[in-house]
Amino acid sequence: MANPLPKEYYKQLEEIQAADFVVHELILYLDTHPTDQQALSQYNQFAQYSKQLKRAFEAQFGPLQQGSPNPSSSVWTWNSTPWPWQV
């Protein structure tokens, strides 16, 4: 990692981690409470929200997920640092 990461990187990443935590908690809850209407609607709401946050992050800092579009037409960016243990 040549350059220190901007503050904005950490801020946006933490927002994604928070949103995905809600999504994951609801997944485990719904696995044992599959007919809870309120949880179902919260799940759909946060799944959508997480997707929006990830799209914005990826446009600025490169792909988060395998299968996300490569932002450059000349170089493969998935393999670029930082990896999660480097931030």
């Binding site: 981690q17 935590f21 485990l28 696995d31």
Partner: protein
Amino acid sequence: MWVYEKKLQYPVKVSTCNPTLAKYLMEQYGGADGELAAALRYMNQRYTIPDKVIGLLNDIATEEFSHLEMIATMIYKLTKDATPQQLREAGLAEHYVSHDSALFYNNAAGVPFTAAYIQAKGDPIADLYEDIAAEEKARATYQWIIDMSDDPDLNDSLRFLREREIIHSQRFREAVEIVKDDRGQKKIF
């Protein structure tokens, strides 16, 4: 299959280079009640568990792999700047002569991981009770590590992981009730 996401489940920050703390954390990396054992245990049990609780085992197993990555990140960050002298003082000389600064699936005492740490009995009640016990043992281990740690940044991440063990234990207890209810219904037919 799995799709990798280039982020940790929860941020991991460490205050200082601290190989002693890294040594303790190896208990949760390659130990009997660690994250590798948890992930492999649930992933393997899901094939023969009743349909109604497969999803839970699948999803908790997947989360355990993200915890394994968080523990690895902690060990990596706590040791990456350590000198051989510092590693020796931390009791990691034996680790160093075999692995340099590479991570390895050992417990805190240097014993390598073995599949004998996990169980698969095929009986859903036996397997789910094993899973509840595993979560409670992992929760207790996190507490003992927090008690030994003086790194406030690291403790924040360790508290997150400790709380996750509680959630998993509670969900597995619900799964036991689901399996029992399901069995009861089948008897009627």
